[in-house]
Each structure stands twice: as C-alpha cells, then as structure tokens.
Symmetry: C2
C-alpha cells in the first residue's frame, strides 16, 4: 500500500514533465530571459553581473578548443582545463540566452560535441588516489560538478541545438555519464554507493543526474535522483538526513558551504521544473534554515575554521547561489541583500539573482546581523551541538560539542575559539592542505592533516595522557557525541554554554563551562572558562591554547630554547610541536598576554608550581613543510585524578596607528582563586585592578552559571 502511494505521488509530482518542457528552465527560466532583455541597463548590480558573465563568455570564445585526455590530479593542467570547460560552457550558454548572439551558442556546441567524442573513449582516470575514481577527473565528485554545470549549459542551448546534436550528446555523453555517476561500472560499485549515500558527495551525484534528467525530460533519471536508485537514497531523503533540525550540517561550516551548493541549486531547478514538489517548504523549510545557519557560522564574512576547514567566506561562488536562491524563496529576509551587495558584488544571472539585484536597487538591503546561536547536531538534533556566543560588536566565541562530523571531523570535543577585532584570536588550525597546489601532495589533504590537524592537541581542549580523543579512531568517535548540559544566549550581558563528555577519554569525565560576560568595569567582554576533568584513576591533563599573534609577556620566568629546540613528543600530534619555552606555573595563577592585530589578549589561569607552562610552535616532525608555523600555549597538569582548569581571557588594549596613541595595554585581571570545587558546584573568584572582582559559580548537574561583580 505504501509503495503504491509513493508511486502515485511520484506520478503526480512528475506529471508536468510529460509535456514537452520549455528551455531554459533550470536555474534560469525562459520567462526571466525576456524580463532580463527588457530591463537591461536599469539595475546596476544585475547589469554588472551580466557584463561580467559576458566577459567570461567572450574569454571562452577566445580560448582554443581544448578537451584533453584526462591526465592530472587536482590543480594539474588537464584537471583545470576540464574545470575551465564547464565554466565556459555554462557562461556561453547563459550568454546565448541573454544576448541572443549565436557565436556563444556555437562555441558551446563545439565544446559539448568534443566531450561527446572524448567520453566514450575513457576508462578510469589515470590518477589512482580516490576510492571513488572518476573518468574525466580523478574522483567522481568532480565529474558530478562538471555535469551540474553542463546540464545548465545544455538547458540554455537545448533549443539552439539540432535534434541530431542532442541525440549525439545524450547518447554518447549525458546518458553514459549519468549512468556512470549513478551506477559506476560493473567492477566498481563505489559510485552506486555514493549516489545513494546520505553524504554531500551523494548530493552532488543526485543533483547532476537529476538536473541532466530534467533537461532531457528523462523522468526516470529525475525519479532516481529524488528517491534514490536503491531504497534509502535520494535527494529528498538527503534533505531530511543531512541537516539537523537547526539546519546544521555535521561536517561543519566549510563543508556545509560546499554541500549546500548542489542542494540549493538542484532545489532551484526543481522549483522551476517541478513546482508541485514544493521543495523549499520541505521539512519546515530546511534549506532556508541551512543557509541561515551557514551564514551565521562566520566571523566578518569568513567561515569558522573547525574541522577540515580552509579559508573561505561569503564571496565564494556557492554562497552567491545560496544567498540569491534563498532570497528569492524568502524575499522578507532583507539582510541577505547586504551580503550580496557587500561581500559578493555580483548576482546569479538567473531569476533569483534578478530578484536580489532588483531589491538592492530598490534600497531594501538591511545590515547583516550576527546572532548568538545554539546549533544542535544530528538528524534529530540529539548529537550534541555547536554554540556560538556573540558580543554586541559581533565577536564570536565558538564552543564545539558536536558529533564527529564524518570524514572531515576532528578529535576536538569541547574545543573553543575566539574571533575578535577582525582576527581569529584563539584559533583552530583547520586543515593541513594546499588546495589546488600540485606540489603539495597534489592539492589533497597532506599526511599532517591526520597526524596533526585532526589530533586533540591541535585544539583548545584537554588532552588526556597525551592521547587524542577516542585514540583518534573515527569509527569509535562517530558513535558518540557530547551532551549539551546548558545554554543561555538570551542576554548579551551574560551568555554561557556547558557540555559534558564521558567517552572521548576512557574513564575520564570532561565537563566544560564557558561564558561571555559584559563586565561593568571592563571595556570589552570577558571570557570565563572552567574545564573540569574527573576520573577514578590518575592521568596527565594538557590544555593547549592556540592563538594568532605575537607573544608579549608571561607573568613568570621561563626558559627559552635559544640555540637548540626539541619537539614536544613523538606521537598524537605532539611530534609536530616545537617547545619554544617552558616554565613552572606560579602559585595561584599565571598570566599570558599576546598581541593580535591592534588588540591585546590576556589569558589568566589557575596554576600551581606543579603546573608546567609551555610555549609551543607548530612545524616539528613535518618533513615536507606542510604545516603552517603557528604559536600555542599549553598548561600541563600531571598525575591528577580530578583537575579544574579555571581561567579567563581578557580582550584589552587600543592602538591607533594613525596617531600612535595607545590605551589599556596592560591586563586588568590580577589573579583568580578557586573558592569551591565540589561535586555540586564550582565557584571561582577573579580579581581585577582597582579592587574589582568577578565571582563565578557553575552548577555541575544542570550546568547553570551565575556571575557577581564587586
């Protein structure tokens, strides 16, 4: 009965396809083309975007036809040429639509037909590095991206091409490629698995197949894209599974950006070609939520760096797709307009981009506002969470208590980071990778990504006995998530979050409370941090603090490596850290100050003479210079059952480069004492200049925090 219903609803939804489809009708519709032609010259941002696209199409006209036999990995010439070709075909196709000039269509046709000649001759790609190898590219993922773009080009050219051209293209290129992406080959089913997988590579695959299916009017391809070629697969189920109810994608911001691209793009195509699906309304508007969440996972327009992140921000082309398409779905979200205007400076040459440009021209843009957010992880929102606490000026304190995050996750339970003053101040290393640089491990993640970037010591969280969380085993890590204990984000004067984890380090309970407080006697928000480790047995606890900037002072004497320097350890990431200096902690507390940009940051932590204080720098154990050279501070407590790391991080100092005036350059915190460290409650007093103090209490059971100022 259920099957019959699904079949029935599929038939209903696919019904419009039974008539001959209009072209173009994917990203750009025929209706929009007429509108574009009629208003050319009256919308500055849209005109600019059309002109940029025409420039790119003109450049494509100039380039000699070059459809090479696949040879190189990522970043190599043949790889880049195939990328260039799909951009060229896309630009030429859209240029043909908006200008009506045949030379664009003719050039695109040439390239398409060259692919139709090449493709049938190809076996697997010669570079064997991916478990999911492609034909045109070293991995099928890039092949799906190629097809996504080429489907849009084909849609634009459909009516221009002769039926014989179309037959050639579909028979020799599009159908075999769709079949390959969907099913792989007789001796390799990796593609079939990916196609039906709840994974962002799967989203690219189904989008590619679905989009070419829409253009060709092949309902069966579209059906398989939507519902999978095997039970449990398909685009719609990916929408249900790959985001949490808060629109959070488990791999983190960097991959959420990439994952969202095919989601919003294919959804846009479906919305044009299969409006009955009402794809943007599915699951309470999950794609809109996911874009909103992604935009919030950023500081100053750059995405947070946790997990395998590289530098990326709102200016990336996929964000232009996301912002334009979602704005067209929800035109009440006027803040999206300022992202398009301020970070992107261009729009899609499509229905969605047209709407954005039109409403910016109408003066409707509103400033984009960053908000404090709790983003639950996991399909049902039960696999921990990422908390982002924002100051009024938009600085971000991130607290990561999520699940592992698939293959791009790091062993970083309860890590924090602080983005302030235009910089990533307390930092997350992100990925050890030089994207598109062949000389660096062919542009892939380098071995140091696993040996350092993913390890616990590379993060701002406690390492137990010098071992990464879950001993760095993804299979184990993927089965667990920390438990969010409390979150309070309603009052900018005092925001906090608390989470606990009992699985990352066997036999040790890790609980962290982190608060962002507006303190009446301080100019800038203060971060208050309590990290308690508890166990029945004795352990060594290391707490690193990775930062950007230059060391200014440590409040006690230290021994600096002067003429020789040693690595911190031999495994679990420790082998990658040089020991630049070491000291014994002071009785009471130890303070460390660094300079980042034009501000100072002072970290004051509870220590004893048994505490080891280390100043570190990445770069050891790195035979091929794959690591960046970055500093860290580490507190080590050895041979403890239970330990409370209590600290605060002050942001202070103003330096005016123009007039060379400095103020507030010395830290205000004079020390802290643990007043109570009991099974029910923790209480810490922080002392500040001028006789001020902050009394912080934290409940163990419910994670609640309270602060009093004197």
């Amino acid at each position: 009965m259920r099957k019959v219903l699904i079949l029935l609803s599929s038939l209903l939804l696919l019904a419009p396809a039974l008539r001959a489809a209009d072209h173009p009708n994917l990203l750009l519709t025929r209706r929009c083309v007429s509108e574009i032609r009629s208003v050319r010259g009256s919308l500055p941002l849209f005109d600019f975007s059309v002109n940029e696209l025409l420039k790119e199409a003109d450049a494509a006209l100039e380039r000699p036809l070059d459809v090479p036999v696949p040879r190189d990995g990522g970043g190599g010439p043949s790889h880049e040429q195939h990328k260039q070709n799909y951009y060229d075909m896309y630009h030429l196709g859209v240029a043909w639509q908006v200008s009506g000039e045949k030379r664009y269509a003719q050039k695109a046709r040439e390239i398409l037909l060259a692919y139709a000649r090449l493709y049938p001759t190809l076996g697997y790609h010669p570079v064997v590095l991916s478990p999911v190898p492609g034909r045109l590219f070293w991995q099928t993922l890039n092949e799906s991206v190629w097809l996504v773009h080429t489907a849009m080009a084909y849609d634009c050219l459909y009516d221009f091409l002769s039926s014989s051209d179309r037959k050639t293209l579909e028979k020799n290129l599009f159908r075999p490629m769709a079949a390959f992406i969907m099913d792989g080959t007789a001796d390799n089913h990796a593609n079939r698995e990916t196609f039906n997988k709840m994974h962002n590579h799967g989203t690219w695959a189904v989008s590619a197949v679905g989009m070419i299916g829409l253009v060709m009017g092949d309902d069966e391809l579209v059906r398989q894209a939507l519902y999978g070629s095997e039970p449990g697969g398909g685009f719609l189920r990916q929408m249900d599974e790959l985001f949490s109810p808060d629109g959070y994608f488990t791999e983190g911001a960097y991959y959420q950006r990439y994952a969202l691209w095919p989601f919003v793009l294919f959804a846009q195509c479906l919305d044009h070609a299969r409006p009955g699906l009402r794809v943007f309304e599915r699951r309470d508007g999950i794609l809109c939520k996911a874009v909103d969440t992604l935009l919030q996972l950023a500081y100053g327009g750059e995405f947070f760096h946790y997990n395998d992140a590289l530098e990326k921000g709102y200016s990336a082309q996929e964000l232009m797709y996301a912002v334009d398409i979602i704005y067209n779905v929800r035109p009440q979200e006027k803040q999206l307009l300022s992202i398009a205007r301020d970070y992107q400076g261009r729009v899609l040459v499509s229905d969605a981009g047209f709407a954005v440009a039109r409403d910016i021209a109408a003066g409707q843009a509103e400033p984009y506002v960053y908000r404090t957010r709790l983003l639950r992880d996991g399909r049902d929102g039960r696999d921990g969470a990422l908390a982002v606490l924002r100051s009024r000026e938009g600085s971000a304190l991130t607290f990561k208590a999520t699940s592992h995050g698939l293959s791009h996750g790091h062993y970083d339970k309860l890590t924090v980071a602080w983005y302030d003053g235009g910089h990533e101040v307390v930092s997350d290393y992100g990925a050890a990778r030089f994207l598109n640089i062949e000389a660096k491990y062919k542009g892939h993640y380098t071995p140091e990504n696993k040996s350092y970037a993913m390890t616990t010591v590379a993060h701002n969280t406690v390492v137990v006995d010098g071992r990464s969380h879950y001993d760095g085993k993804i299979k184990v890590s993927s089965q667990h998530a920390p438990r969010l204990v409390s979150f309070e984000g309603g009052d900018p004067a005092f925001q906090y979050v608390c989470a606990v984890d009992s699985t990352a380090a066997p036999g040790v309970r890790l609980q962290r409370w982190t608060a962002l407080a507006e303190v009446p006697f301080l100019d800038r928000p203060l971060i208050l941090d309590l990290f308690r480790t508890s166990s029945d047995s004795v352990h060594d606890y290391d707490l690193p603090l990775h930062y950007n900037g230059h060391m200014i002072s440590l409040s006690l004497p230290y021994k600096r490596a002067l003429d020789h320097m040693e690595a911190l350890g031999t495994r679990n990431g420790y082998q990658h850290l040089w020991v630049e200096a070491q000291a014994s902690g002071a009785e009471g507390s130890t303070a460390y100050t660094w300079l980042c940009g034009s501000r100072m940051y002072s970290y004051t932590a509870c220590t004893s003479p048994q505490t080891e204080v280390l100043l570190l720098r990445t770069g050891a154990g790195d035979p091929n210079f794959n690591l960046r050279s970055e500093p860290a501070l580490m507190l080590r407590e050895r041979g403890r059952k239970t330990h409370l790391f209590a600290s605060c991080l002050e942001t202070h100092g103003r330096y005016d480069l123009r007039t060379e005036q400095a103020a507030d350059m010395v830290r205000s915190c004079e020390g802290l004492e643990i007043v109570e460290d009991g099974p029910q409650r923790i209480c810490v007093r922080y002392r500040f200049k001028g006789g001020h103090s902050v009394l912080l209490t934290a409940e163990v059971q419910n994670g609640k925090m309270n602060v009093q100022y004197q």
Copy 2:
C-alpha cells in the same frame, strides 16, 4: 660684511612680526576660519573632518582634567596622558575657532594652566633611558612634539585668554620649555646640541621653539629656530642638509615620514606668518620634492620596510599634514587629492585641508601613480642611491645602495626587496620593536634590533665570512657609501640598476646588477639578479633571501629538522636563525618556490653540489620573544675568492578563491647557465618552458645590462 647682510635679511624677513600678529595664524589662519564658518555643510570631506575634530574635542570636554606628574616611559599611562593632553588642547583650540563655542576654549585654558602649574616643579623625567632626557617625557623629542601641538592650540586660544593668563602661561610654561628645548640645563647640554643638529630630532626642536615664538611674537626665538642658537644650526640649514637633491632623507621612508612632519608643519606656519621667507621655494622646492619622494617610497600606500621601519603608511596623521600642506602649495599636483581621499579620508581643519576638500569636491582628484625612481642619497646626492623599479601594475623592486642612514641605518649594502600582489614578498625585516607596548622593552627598539634586525644576514645581500658589513660598526659604515654604476628606468620593458661596494667587507668587491624585465613569454615581470663578489683571498659568501609566505617546494632532496633544531651560528645575527632544513645544491641550478597571498614565487639560482642550501626561520637566541617568526632561504658558497650568484625570481600562479580555479602554478624557469663570467662582462642564459630562453649580459665597468629573448 656677510654677517651684516644676514642680520639685514633677518630683519627684513622678520619685519611682519613687528606689528601685533593676528591669531590664529599658524596652521589655521583667521581668514580661513571665516571661510570655514561660511561654507559649513557644503564640502563633504571637510565637513566630515570638522565633525571628527569636534567629536574629539567633545571627548576632551568629557575627560577629567589629568595633568600627572611624569612617571612612565613610552606607552605607560602618564606618557599616554600627556600625549592625550596635547591632542586634546589642539582639538579644543581648533574647535573653539570653528564653532565659536566657549566651552572648548575654557577646557583648553584649564589644561594649559594646569601645565603652567606643573612645569616649574619638574626636574628631569624619572625614566632614565635617553641621552637626551626630557621633563614631561622620558626624552626631549616628545616634549618638542608636545610644544608643537600646544603652540597651535595656544595660537587658536590667544585672543580668548586674558593677558594675565597669557603672561602666566608664557612665563611658567612656554618660555621655560622653549629655553629647555633650546639650551637644556646647566649640567646637560644634550638639548642644545640636538637643537643645532642636522637631525630630525633637531627639526622637531626648532619647530617647537619657532612655532611658540611665532605665537608669542618673540622674534628672537623665531630667529634662533630659523638660524640656530649656535652657528651651523637652524631650520633653514636643516632643509639644505637633511634631504638629498632628490628629496631623499637618509634614514629612509619610515623616518622620512616622521622627519617631514615638523618640516611641513613649521614651513606652513612660516608661510602664513613670514610669507616673505618663501620657505616652500627654498632649494628648488625641496620640501615639495621630499613629500613626493616619500609618497613614492611605498607600495599600496604602505612604506617600504628598510632600515628601522615599522608598519606605517599614507593613513598616518603626519601624511595628512604633508599631503594637505603640499597640495596647497602646489595645487597642480592633483594626484595628491586621491591620496587624501582614498587613504586618509579626512583633511586638516586648516587652510590647506580646506583646499584639498574643496578640490576633491570639485572632482579634480587624479589616480596616484607609482613611478620608477632613482633617489640619490646625501646632501649633494653623492652618497649612493636607492632605486625603485616599478612594474606597470605598480609592483616595486627596491635596490638599496645608500649611505648608512644615521642611527636607524642597517648593515645592508646592495640589498633588494620585492613588493607584489599586495604583499612584501621578498622582505626586509625592518625593526625589532613593539612601539608603545611597555611590556616589550618599554616600547623601545629591543636588543634584537641591533643583534639581528640591523645585521647583514637579516637582509637580502651577501654576507662575507659570516660578518656584518663594516663589522656592524656605525662609525665606519657612516664614512662610506656604495657607488651607483648604472641605472636605467626609462623603459618598463627592461629596467635595471647596478652598484658596487668595496668597503663593506674588507678586501672584497661586491657588485650587484638587478633588472626587472617584461618577458614576451611570461605573464608577469621577471627579476634577473647577478651578484658578484671578488677578492684576492678566500672567503665564505652567504646570500640570504628573506620572504613572506609558505614554502611550496625545493627542487632537490633536503634534510628537515624533525625532532630537534639548531641555531645557524653564534654571532652577527646568525644566532637568531633556526636551521629548518639543509641540502646540497644541484649541479647547474636549484629552484625554490613559495606561496604568498594568491601568487607563487619561484627563485632559480645557479648552484653546484658545493653550494649549501639552507631553509631558515627567525626566533633563535631570542630570550624574550622579541623577534617575529619569519622564513628565509640561504645559499652558501664557502672558500671562494670570486663568486657569481646568478638567479631569477619569477612571479607566477593565479588562484581565484571565489571559483577555486588555479592556473600557472608551476615555475617556468628550467635552469640557468653562466655563459661568461669575465673581468669585462657577465653573460647568463636562463632556460624556460617551451624552449624559450633569456640571455642576459652585464658590463662590469659601466654596469650596463642587455637582454635577449629566444
């Protein structure tokens, strides 16, 4: 007879002062005040600047009166408070003039009178660090800066104050301070020496004394400021001596910026109050030349980093003075307007700033253009030169063959640097200093400035036998300058410079030819570099290349420091360099590639298996973390009499972050051979991809270079 003439001319020039002077009449004139009041609201940039100034004056109104007893060194609270006070008085004074609101004048009067009470109680400043100690500040220099600002404030308030106030101020504050700056105290003549010295500190001193003399109508003070309190001193002679005929200041861009401030400011005051002096015409308009030269000593609005430079650029307030004042003298220089508009965003609230704002509003700004320049050093232009070769897109190759440059000079004969793609790619360390950060050696130059930043190994030039040029002795270095052999900057297709030095390393002749060439088969200009060392005896020659960015590849196997790392040496700066990796050069040539920003840089040099190739990083031998962590490459040739370092530096690679498209990521140069290395001529062939080559010849005697492409 000569004396009589001087006396006569002095009397004539000073004649206007014999009548009661108008006030204000220094930076801002009474005539301009009426104009300002009449056009308020019609010149956006000027209105903005007035409003900013009024905001600052309003903030000064809010601040409680605080004229503390001097206590701290640079960056400390009392130091910063006295700086704040002079800015406050200046802002209040000008605010009173433009608004006519008495509260501004009243507040300024309060502060002034507080100083009149404090100053007579002061002996020398308690921080004893400067050979020229001050009273309000740890060095007299800051006291002169204080008086320069306060003179402008007093000028604005002159008519507001009662004659009894004026009497108090002049008797207790201005005259004693002027006397102190001019003469020092009975037991310390350092100030008298500085006042009469041909040095930028002297310029601050004479400007302070001269400006307060102008306000008080004290012709004797003005006379001593102009002609010195001892023979051979004074402002006019400083104009003759402190700049080369090309307007180059021997200490370099960073200090030229600072030195020019009192020059243009006092000159502006003189131009208003003593127009008969025609100060801006002196020495063929040397101050206008000096400002033009300073602006050219920059890349992307940031000054070059040679000598003791910190980060500084066009946005600094002293540049606003320079640009506005010179524009008002030479209103045909329309490019100055775009600097005011694009880098400064505000103008002086003065006659000069008014002219700038008015002409920007009239649409007269022209884009600022960087030019290839040869800037001769020395009063007569005979002490070597700094050459700046510019590419068409404004990238800068600097070649330094100047004299030592007084106390801020480095031991860096024939060093080069390359600014490209928005970055300082081949870098000059500049200064080891954390300005205004008390925790870092009280904000002064740290000891590592001498032990590293000034040494030869910290620069991109040859170190002979591991010793700095002139063995790091400033007295010796100051007696010599390299000889400029050739310079050709007329054709952007091929520009070059050659200089020779026979004094920096005893018994060794250093000759360097550097060219910037547009090569028909390369996208970006190519740097061609020949550095020949010749001697009758055997030496070790080290050639470092300091760069910004990340190591991408070295063309041969190397041994990387993995678990321990050693310093390169024990003295002359070598103790500050970690050896990250080492290798033996290849037979023929060795190539090194790094990434900086979104471009790649490949250095290909002639080597042999006897060449040692070292990858280095600063930070060793640095007990207080005063050095930045920066990478370098070094080529070592040991036991040679004569050696030719021949190399080229390619700029290549394009990476589009938006679309993740990469191109041209692999170097084009495949190697080089020295075809001829004779007493008359050097000839080198560089081989490039695609069978291309560059044949470079260089003449030894006349330094001429020639290039042929195949």
